[in-house]
């Protein structure tokens, strides 16, 4: 999800930026009288008298302008939606073979199970998880807050070899692409108190 969103955001920004850069650059060039043969004289007004009269004499101008503005607005709204969409998985399908029926598991159950398991490990204070992508091939975002004095190597190894292995088994998947973020907290480990 994240990489895909990043590409959409970055591509859109580059595109809009290029349009503004080209328009602004051309206006700047004309303003500085850089290419009078191509862009026109810099002493001319922004709109000539004939140009301001044009829409009044041609009925198609305003409807076409309206349609163009509406298309721009729709594209912008689509871009907005594509960037803010989280692609969170709500249900996981456990049975890839649809002939024998479909088993569906709420994603919250799987998330709750793995965060509970992680929080039961010594050295881990808090854990949060989210599943993205498709119900058949989900991706996992895992965030763990470890105690400041915990050995990160042990915490990491345990997450990889136990918690993720258990989740894979439960979801009947060979692999779950995972992004794991490990934070450290100054608060004392509640397992030791």
């Amino acid at each position: 999800m994240t990489r895909h969103t990043a590409r959409i955001s970055r591509t859109g920004l580059i595109l809009i930026g290029l349009i503004l850069l080209a328009g602004g650059g051309a206006a700047l060039a004309r303003s500085l009288n850089a290419f009078p043969d191509v862009l026109g004289r810099s002493t001319a007004p922004l709109l000539s008298h004939a140009q301001t009269r044009y829409p009044a004499g041609h009925a198609w101008v305003w409807p076409v302008t309206a349609a163009a503005a509406a298309i721009i607005a729709l594209l912008a709204l689509w871009w907005l939606a594509a960037q803010t969409r989280t692609q969170t998985v709500r249900r996981l399908s456990l049975e890839p073979d649809r002939t024998s029926g479909v088993t569906v598991l709420p994603a919250d159950a799987a998330i709750g199970a793995i965060t509970d398991e992680l929080e039961s490990y010594p050295g881990i204070q808090r854990a949060s998880a989210a599943l993205h992508g498709s119900p058949a091939a989900p991706r996992l975002q895992l965030s763990v807050t470890a105690d400041d004095h915990a050995d990160p190597a042990i915490v990491r190894t345990r997450i990889e070899t136990e918690a993720l292995a258990h989740l894979r088994t439960a979801l009947e998947l060979d692999t779950i692409p995972t992004v794991l973020r490990i934070r450290f907290s100054s608060a004392p480990d509640r397992h030791l108190t």
């Binding site: 602004g24 303003s31 007004p45 607005a73």
Partner: protein, 218 residues
């Protein structure tokens, strides 16, 4: 059924020996470029905030423009804005005027900023760490790492205050002490921070720099 994940029969929670295995993941990842590139891409800023802002502005402009154009088409402007009101100034303003120059320069500059925002990768949000599993991309968010390393430095005997900066290639710790004799203090801070980093096992091991400052009095 999933509530049973952690307590599946026959599923004893055995801790692997702490000393050996974690190193293997690192050596493995280090030798191939894939995991490092994947990790770096994952933690790059997504540019969603500028993207959403620009999209919202564009959508608003498009909607307002469409409304205005429709009302103009029916020759019944919604607002008091008469056609003459903007056509007049545009007729009176010339290309070589200062206002035109300023607006054109501003538009071009905003365009340049947007292009650069899209192109420049940006500083990663997290320091990529080695992982033993190829499907797992691990990272330590920089802000949290910075605080944790600063706390670690502060816990060294003789250090009053400490701040840390964490980048991909270097970690800088600025520590303040009131001790008159600072012999060995820098080395102690350095080794405390270095030990933690070694345990974290970053894909790009950063260089640790310690700046020690002596505060008079106290």
């Amino acid at each position: 059924m999933v509530t049973g994940i952690a307590s599946r029969p026959g599923d004893t929670q055995v801790l692997p020996p702490a000393a050996g295995p974690p190193r293997a993941g690192r050596a493995d990842a280090w030798s191939r470029r894939g995991p490092r590139r994947k990790a770096r891409r994952e933690f790059r800023p997504r540019r969603t905030i500028p993207g959403v802002l620009v999209a919202a502005v564009l959508a608003a402009a498009g909607i307002l423009g469409a409304i205005q154009a429709v009302s103009a088409a029916f020759d019944r402007p919604l607002w008091k804005l008469q056609h003459r009101d903007f056509a007049g100034p545009l007729q009176d303003t010339h290309w070589d005027s200062t206002a035109t120059l300023a607006v054109a320069a501003a538009v071009a500059f905003i365009g340049l900023v947007l292009v650069l925002t899209g192109l420049i990768p940006g500083r990663p949000r997290a320091i990529p760490l080695a992982s033993g599993d190829e499907s797992v991309v691990t990272g330590a968010p920089r802000r949290s790492l910075r605080r944790s390393l600063a706390r670690l430095a502060k816990d060294v005997d003789g250090i009053d205050r400490a701040r840390a900066k964490a980048r991909m290639r270097s970690v800088t710790v600025r520590a303040t002490t009131r001790l008159r004799d600072t012999g060995g203090l820098r080395e102690n801070v350095h080794s405390a921070v270095q030990d933690r980093l070694t345990a974290l096992d970053p894909l790009w091991p950063p260089r640790v720099k310690v700046r020690l400052r002596r505060k008079a009095g106290g």
